[in-house]
Symmetry: C2
Subunit: 180 residues, 2 copies
């Protein structure tokens, strides 16, 4: 698990994207400078590709260009949905939404989802979801009290699926997340 982030003053940062096995963490540079920091949350094995070599490769092989585009578009899509999460949801809803997203992402990659591993610290979660560490804790407490999640430990979480709150599109998820 990697975190793509933007560094701010005084050691603060905003995590803008989270990368899981199979995702690509390069590509985001223009004019030679990288746009984002990228930091490993867990142990990670990465594969470096020489930029000039890749550039040459693209010319002969259109599929390469297409794959790069696909990756860029996916990252943009993730960020846009994340923007909705941060912009429109309450703290508890953000956390729940994030956990469901993680579960879906794990499941796509064949990683265990019961429980789901949460290797990042509370402060990482806060930097990702745009809230304070304390608020993250409170949100966990709130979800636990409602039996929406179970906490085996601080980094081992089980999601209890509420009827009708399964994985769904974001627009509907938001409608449902109003937790009336």
């Amino acid at each position: 698990m990697l975190a793509r982030s933007i560094a701010l003053s005084k050691g603060r940062r905003q995590i803008v994207d989270i990368l899981l096995p199979g995702d690509t963490c390069g590509f985001f540079q223009s004019g030679g400078g990288h746009l984002f920091d990228c930091e490993a949350i867990t142990e990670a094995t990465t594969c470096a590709i020489d930029a000039s070599h890749l550039r040459k490769l693209r010319i002969g092989c259109p599929d390469v260009g297409k794959a790069i585009d696909e990756e860029l578009v996916c990252a943009a899509k993730r960020m846009a949905e994340h923007l909705v999460t941060v912009g429109k949801l309450s703290a508890t809803e953000r956390l729940l939404h994030f956990l469901h997203w993680l579960e879906a992402a794990y499941s796509e990659r064949g990683l265990p989802t019961h429980p789901i591993a949460l290797p990042m610290s509370r402060s990482d979660i806060g930097d990702y979801l745009g809230m304070q560490v304390e608020t993250v804790s409170r949100a966990f407490a709130s979800l636990k009290k409602r039996d929406l999640v179970g906490l085996l430990s601080a980094e081992q979480v089980v999601l209890r699926r509420r009827p009708g709150s399964g994985p769904r599109r974001l627009g509907e998820a938001l409608g449902a997340s109003e937790m009336a």
Copy 2:
């Protein structure tokens, strides 16, 4: 001015990006479906490019692919910085940051910046910055009271530059935006 947004339930939406003359509003589709809605805020003249034609064009001409990548990366960069704005700034700071961003964007394109035009409604601004209409109004009032902006009308704004708060990189801007 166009707004790229994600539609939510009950007519709500999150605007994820704002496009100005020279920006490209396509590209964001995968599997035939568009990822975002795109809506005109002002009158706009657009230029449609046939997708299959473009695909063929890329093969022979590497610059085309590079230009598309450039556009994707720029959009991702905008969204990431916007994410910082929404995730880490208070309502008033968000608005001020947005106005400065607009000024810089206008200035890059040779559009007038004194005053700067604000063709979008308060509700659009709210959907972009992740806050309510009333909060947008309050933020304007607060900025006006501090003489950071002047309101000629609801859509004609002048930015009064505070010493040391000119256009700068986002990391520093955030440091300064703590408005101590």
